[in-house]
Amino acid sequence: MTAPNTQANSRLHSMTYSTRGADPATAPAFLAPLDEMGAGLPGSGLSWLTELRAAGRERFAAVGLPTIKNESWRYTNLRDLAKVSFQPAAPAAATIDLLPTVRAEGQDGPRLVFVDGRFRADLSSVEGLPPGVELLSLAAALSTHGELLADHIGRLAAADDRPLVALNSAYLADGPVLHVPAGVQVERPIELVFVSVGTEAQATSCHPRSLLIAKAGSKAVVVEHHVGRGDGTTLSNHVTEVFVGEGATLHHYKSQREGGGAIHLSHIAATVATGGCYDNFILTTGAKLSRNEVVSRLDGTEARTHVSGGYLVRGTQHADTTTVIVHAKPNGTSREVYKGVIDDTARAVFQGKITVCPDAQKTDGYQLNRALLLSDGAEIDSKPELEIHADDVKCSHGCTAGELDDDALFYLRARGIDRDTAQGLLIGAFLSESLEEIAEESIRDAFQGIIAGWLEEQK
């Protein structure tokens, strides 16, 4: 396989997050099931992997879950997780009859399905991929693509300062692997489906690891669906490492609509080489507790990243969006547009940090987070943060929180449109600004459909 990304090798990705504000006492319960699994994990003969798992385990044992004393976790409290005894999910026997898709009915395409973190070949298909493109499960790739994995896994997502990444590494076993060779354009969206089955009787956990590599001049579109079945308590602790090569473009879209008992924790770490573009959009509607961390590093000149999303929460849901954009090289562009809708006593968190390194002159950074509060009990905590070490840059950010426009609502109702429909129109209009960030029309439509479904549930 090709040589690893040298920029990624520098392991510059240790952010300044302190591990002060973690609780080691919570660690044993999360690590105990590992003893039983032991050598049962795939790829146990690979020394790099054994080391990575051991390091993750050691790290997590030392720190445990992050607490709200950790600056990055100030608004999201994982305390309740420690009260639950999670067991690794047993292989689910049930067939998954309703797989989500952005494809039109009857249209097939490349898709990998993971049930409780385990690859399901019977539900997956790699049909329609251009020659040379690799799309397979990590468990399988360990025996066939060991070198590729060794060169990339753990390069971006540093376990040192992120306890949950450490925990993910300790359990590292499966997840999707995509490798798009240089110059190859993958036209059809590649779907990655993650199903949390969950049972009433036992809280279950899984720790999928994804690896997405788009080599120089290539292009691909990846759509993730995270769905749940039932109300059982499930924990997905997902880590994704993304390598975008020179002049390559990776569109990475994700819809998280897990069940009401789900805890969804995700860390996406991306590096973008010269002239490359990493495009990320996350639509959050599910899970009782979710955190989406996106760290996108522009490690080459003239690189671009768009990190946007929408979060729609109600009831007692909690949705945390934490982004870090690092401009390491000159002439980079970053753009973030987030829109959130918060109802009942739900709470959303937006933390957006833009770091411009001394070398990154002519950086153009833009960040926007707008929240719409639909009830008095709804809450948004917004924390934008600019850290600029270069003098010739353009960086702006804006955060707003507001309510539905009463004048507009009355205007619509005065034309015969009932309150729910009128609210839906206004919420849809509010969200459209972020949805426009989605370059792929089919996916924009699909996500609009998810939003329409969410609004429908409101009634």
Partner: protein
Amino acid sequence: MIEIKNLHATVDGKEILKGVDLTIRPGEVHAIMGPNGAGKSTMSYVLAGRDGYEVTEGSVTYYGKDLLAMEPEERAAEGVFLAFQYPVEIPGVGNTTFLKTAINAIRKHRGEKELDAMQFLKLIRAKTKALGMSDEMLKRAVNVGFSGGEKKRNETLQMAVLEPKFAILDETDSGLDIDALKIVAEGVNALRSPERSMLVITHYQRLLDYIVPDYVHVLAAGRIVKSGGKELALELEKNGYRDFGASEAA
């Protein structure tokens, strides 16, 4: 028939309407004139059902039904239409989507079949043409970037499409130059019919040259203090509202 009896209404605890009586029969066009602060706009909002306008006394009977007990959308579905003095801009909601949602909501309420995209377009094209509106205005977001005249034309278009039984025109002439006023008035006049009543609220007589009313009422300090035929408007134009205890300069 619309019967307003002894209507009292408060806004933020302040009484604005202090006992309005008015009966409007099908096909009639009534004008309400009055100085600023007389309660003209309050009256239109109370009739349309806006939050924050509390009726403390009196009743409004609308074709035998208690209008004040209805939600704004029910009133609209029952045929009440308020042409806004300041039509609201709604970024992100397309004018076409808005109109289609509105007409189908009302059709549904009336037990009529909802219009599909083709039927709707056919209807809307005919109406926009009559009002001298461009297709482009339909593609834009509701009232966003519209000139004053375009906004009022858009109101008239909605009225033409929704075919109300009782239309309230709140200061329709405000912000219009004479050409725009003529177009809007023509649109309104085209909608006059024996089944449709109108309440034209205006400060100036000018509008009534184009939308000629059957009756004119003077609203001052929350009450109708004088009623008459269309000639009353001309009298007001000449003498102002001084006779009714309000300063013209307000």
